[in-house]
C-alpha cells in the first residue's frame, strides 16, 4: 500500500511519474484492458439498444438517489421484519466501531471477508487486525493483494497489474508452495487456504452491489462463489454497503445485473448473482443466524447536497471508466492513492476526503471524455472534473496561477496588445534552440520530451490580409478588363 509520507498531491506526482515510465507494466495493463474492451463490445452489442438501457438505468438511479430517505427506510423496514439488523453509519469510525463491538460481543475469533470496497474505504481490515481479529479476504484478487500487503490496484480487478510469475513467487514466499506457471494450480493453492477460512470463520463480512427497497434484500454479484460461502457459512454476517446502492424495485435488477456484468467485465451475466433478505428463517437449513446491514454514508450525503455532481452517486462501481481511461492505463491504480481509482474516483474523492487535498486528481486529466462516454449510468464524469477544478480555484486559488490567468485575460481582452505580443512568436522560435531543454527554457516541461513547433515568420493574420489584398487586386483588374470589353 502506498504510504502517504508526502501530501497527496506530491505523492501522486512521484508515483505517477514513476509508473508512467514503466513501459512493461503499462503494456500488460493495456493488453488486459484491450481484451476487456473486445468482450464488452461483444456483449454490449447483444443489448437491443444500449443507449436506451443507459438512459433507463440513469433514470432509475436518479429516482433512487433523489429519494434515498424513502427507499432506504423501505429497505430497512422489510429487512428488519425478517429479523435482519440495520445500522446507519454516518462515518467510517461508526461503521468500524459497530463491527468491532459486534465481533467482541459475539466472541468472534476468525473473520472471512468477500470483496467490499466499502471495507477498503473505512480501512476495516487494519482496524480488525489491530483489535486482534484475523481476517482473510476470500476474493482471489483481494486475497493476493492482502498477501502482498497492497491496496487493490483496480476496484473491480484488484491484482490486474500482476503477472502470473509474480503471483507464483508471492505464494511461494508467503505460503511455501511450489512455483508454478499454471493459473489452475495457482487458483487451487488459494482455494485450499480459503476453504479452511470459510469453515473456521464465525463472522463473514461482505459488501453489496444493490439494495432492493421493494423486497428488503441486498444483491451480491461475483464470479468465484466466494461471497456465497462468506455469507452462507459463518454464523454472523455483516454487509457493509454505501447508501447510494439502493434501487427501488426488484425488477430494476433485470436491467442492472446484465448491465453491471457487461460494463464491468464484458460478461452477459456475472457468474453468481445472489439475493439476501436476512438471517436464516425458521425451517431453513443454512444461512447466518444473524444478518447485519450497515448503511454507510461516510460523506456520500455531501455529494448528495451538490445538485451539480449528485449524479456521481448513480455509480454502480463497474469500473468501466477506469478500463477506458488513458490516464489510468498509463499510471495504474496505486498512483491515485485513493480507495476508488480512475475517473470516478477523481470525481468523488474530493467530496469524501476534502477538495484541497485531492483536487490534483481532477487536474490530472486531459478531459478526453472516454469515461463519460462509457459510463453505463450516464454520469457526466469528465465535466465533473472541470467542476472540481472550478470549485477548487474558487475555494482557494493558487496565487501564482491566478495571477497568470489574470494576466492572460488582460492580454486576450486587448486584441492590439495580443497582436503585438504574437509578433514576437517568430523571434521566440528563432531564439528557442539556444535555451531548449535548459532551465531557462520557458516551455521546458514540454521540450523535455517533445519538440515544440516552430513559429513561421508570417502569421495567419498576415497571410489572410495579403490574400484579401491580392483578391481585391484581381477583382479590380478583372472589372477593368470587363469594362474594356
Amino acid at each position: 500500500m502506498t504510504t502517504l509520507a508526502e501530501p497527496p498531491r506530491h505523492q501522486f506526482q512521484l508515483d505517477a511519474n514513476r509508473t508512467a515510465a514503466d513501459g512493461d507494466r503499462r503494456a500488460a495493463v493495456r493488453k488486459a484492458l484491450h481484451n476487456y474492451s473486445s468482450a464488452r463490445d461483444k456483449t454490449g452489442a447483444t443489448f437491443n439498444d444500449w443507449k436506451s438501457a443507459r438512459n433507463a438505468a440513469s433514470a432509475i438511479k436518479h429516482e433512487a438517489v433523489n429519494h434515498l430517505d424513502r427507499y432506504l427506510e423501505e429497505f430497512e423496514s422489510k429487512f428488519t421484519a425478517r429479523g435482519g439488523k440495520v445500522f446507519w453509519a454516518s462515518d467510517s469510525k461508526q461503521a468500524r466501531d459497530y463491527i468491532i463491538d459486534l465481533a467482541k460481543r459475539k466472541s468472534v475469533r476468525a473473520i472471512v471477508k468477500s470483496k467490499a470496497m466499502t471495507g477498503e474505504e473505512i480501512h476495516l481490515n487494519q482496524a480488525l487486525l489491530e483489535e486482534g481479529f484475523g481476517v482473510v479476504e476470500s476474493d482471489l484478487g483481494e486475497y493476493i493483494q492482502q498477501l502482498k500487503g497492497e491496496a487493490p490496484y483496480h476496484f473491480v480487478f484488484p491484482c490486474m497489474h500482476l503477472r502470473r510469475d509474480e503471483i507464483s513467487d508471492l505464494f511461494h514466499k508467503e505460503l511455501g508452495t511450489a512455483k508454478t506457471d499454471s493459473p489452475e494450480e495457482l487458483t487451487m493453492i488459494a482455494r485450499r487456504v480459503l476453504r479452511r477460512a470459510y469453515i473456521d470463520a464465525d463472522m463473514g463480512i461482505s459488501g453489496g452491489n444493490f439494495i432492493v427497497a421493494e423486497t428488503g434484500m441486498i444483491s451480491i454479484t461475483e464470479n468465484e462463489g466466494n461471497a456465497r460461502l462468506t455469507v452462507g457459512l459463518p454464523k454472523i454476517h455483516v454487509a457493509l454497503i454505501g447508501i447510494e446502492k439502493v434501487v427501488p424495485r426488484l425488477a430494476d435488477l433485470a436491467l442492472f445485473l446484465p448491465m453491471l456484468a457487461t460494463a464491468g467485465t464484458g460478461q452477459h451475466m456475472t457468474g453468481y448473482n445472489s439475493m439476501y433478505g436476512g438471517p436464516r428463517q425458521p425451517g431453513e437449513l443454512d444461512g447466518p443466524e444473524e444478518f447485519h446491514v450497515i448503511l454507510l454514508d461516510n460523506h456520500r450525503t455531501r455529494l448528495l447536497a451538490d445538485p451539480e455532481q449528485r449524479d456521481a452517486l448513480h455509480c454502480i462501481r463497474c469500473g468501466a471508466c477506469l478500463n477506458v481511461c488513458p490516464i489510468f492505463k498509463n499510471i495504474g491504480g496505486h498512483a491515485y492513492g485513493t480507495t476508488y481509482q480512475g475517473p470516478i474516483g477523481s470525481v468523488i474523492t474530493p467530496h469524501f476526503r476534502g477538495l484541497e487535498d485531492w483536487k490534483h486528481l481532477s487536474g490530472a486529466s486531459s478531459l478526453c471524455g472516454a469515461c463519460t462516454e462509457t459510463c453505463p449510468v450516464g454520469i457526466d464524469i469528465h465535466h465533473h472534473l472541470l467542476h472540481n477544478r472550478r470549485n477548487a480555484a474558487a475555494q482557494k486559488p493558487a496565487k501564482g496561477e491566478q495571477l497568470l490567468w489574470k494576466a492572460f485575460a488582460f492580454l486576450m481582452q486587448r486584441p492590439a496588445l495580443y497582436r503585438l505580443a504574437s509578433r514576437f512568436a517568430p523571434l521566440g522560435s528563432l531564439l528557442h534552440p539556444l535555451v531548449s531543454g535548459s532551465p531557462l527554457d520557458p516551455v521546458r516541461s514540454w521540450t523535455s520530451t517533445r519538440e515544440f513547433p516552430h513559429a513561421p515568420m508570417r502569421s495567419f493574420r498576415d497571410q489572410f490580409r495579403e490574400h484579401q489584398a491580392a483578391k481585391k487586386g484581381v477583382a479590380s483588374s478583372g472589372t477593368q478588363q470587363g469594362a474594356k470589353r
Binding site: 487536474g363 471524455g369 472541470l386 492572460f408 485575460a409 486576450m412 517533445r450 489572410f464
Partner: protein
C-alpha cells in the same frame, strides 16, 4: 465566371466567419489559409475579424472561470454579427459550442453565448452536414491515418464527417489505427502540468500511428497534432502531421 463552384456544393454562397485559435494563428497559419482556400473553392466568402484572440479555454480548464469569462466575453463581441462561425480546432470549437453556454449560465450574456453556440461549426461537420459536400476536389498522394481529437469526437460528436471528406480525396489511402479514439495526451495545460503522463499517452498514440505504416497522420484538431507531432519529431521523424484542411486544400 463568378460562383465557379456552386455546382459542387449545391448550396447558396455563404458568408463564413473564421475563428482561428491563437496557436493556429501563430504556429500553424497554413491550417487557417487551407480552410480559406477550401471554402472559397466551394464558392463561399470568408471573413476573419481581426479583433479575435483566444476562446478562453486555458483558464476555463484550469478552473479560473471568471478570467475565462472575461476572455470569452470579448469573443461574444467580436462574433456578434457572424452568420456561421467555423473553427479549425475541435477543441476551441467545443469551447464555443458546448462550454460557453455553461460558462455564462446565470450570467448577463447567457443568451448571447447560446446564440454564438448555435452558429458555431466544426470545419468538417460544416462541409458535410451543413453544405452537403463530400468531394471538395482535392488530390493528395499518400498513405494516412486519422486521429479523432477528443473534443471534436465526444463534445461535438464528429466522427464520420472527416472520414467522408477524406474518402473522396484522390490519391489518398486512409488506414484506421487501433487507437484512433484514444486521447493523444495533450489536454491543454495538462500537457505541461503533468508532462510525464501526457508523454506516456503520446507514446501509446504514436505507436498506434506507426503500426499502420502510414506516412501522414491527419486530424481536425491542431492542438492534438502539436502533441503528436512533438512526440513523433523527437522519436520517429518520418511521419508527418497534417490538418484535415491542409489535405482538402491540396490539388
Amino acid at each position: 465566371m463568378p460562383c465557379r463552384a456552386i455546382h459542387i456544393s449545391g448550396t447558396h454562397p455563404m458568408r463564413v466567419t473564421l475563428f482561428v485559435p491563437c496557436f493556429i494563428d501563430s504556429l500553424y497559419p497554413n491550417v487557417g489559409m487551407s480552410m480559406v482556400r477550401v471554402l472559397e473553392h466551394l464558392g463561399h466568402s470568408v471573413e476573419f475579424p481581426e479583433e479575435q484572440t483566444c476562446c478562453g479555454q486555458p483558464p476555463f480548464n484550469s478552473g479560473y472561470w471568471d478570467e475565462a469569462r472575461a476572455v470569452a466575453s470579448k469573443q461574444l463581441d467580436v462574433f456578434k454579427n457572424a452568420e456561421i462561425i467555423l473553427s479549425g480546432s475541435g477543441s476551441c470549437g467545443a469551447m464555443f459550442k458546448v462550454f460557453y453556454p455553461e460558462l455564462f449560465h446565470g450570467h448577463d450574456r447567457e443568451a448571447e453565448a447560446k446564440a454564438l453556440s448555435a452558429k458555431t461549426w466544426e470545419f468538417s461537420e460544416f462541409l458535410v452536414n451543413k453544405l452537403g459536400v463530400k468531394d471538395v476536389g482535392a488530390r493528395f498522394d499518400g498513405k494516412a491515418t486519422f486521429h479523432d481529437g477528443c473534443h471534436g469526437l465526444r463534445e461535438l460528436g464528429t466522427k464520420h464527417a472527416p472520414r467522408e471528406l477524406l474518402s473522396h480525396v484522390k490519391g489518398l489511402e486512409l488506414v484506421e489505427m487501433s487507437e484512433a479514439e484514444t486521447c493523444c495526451g495533450f489536454g491543454g495545460t495538462f500537457a505541461v502540468k503533468y508532462p510525464q503522463i501526457s508523454t506516456a499517452m503520446a507514446e501509446v498514440k504514436c505507436n498506434s500511428i506507426c503500426e499502420t505504416k502510414a506516412d501522414f497522420v491527419i486530424s481536425n484538431d491542431s492542438s492534438c497534432l502539436m502533441q503528436i507531432g512533438g512526440w513523433l519529431d523527437r522519436n520517429i521523424g518520418s511521419v508527418k502531421c497534417l490538418h484535415l484542411a491542409e489535405v482538402l486544400a491540396s490539388r
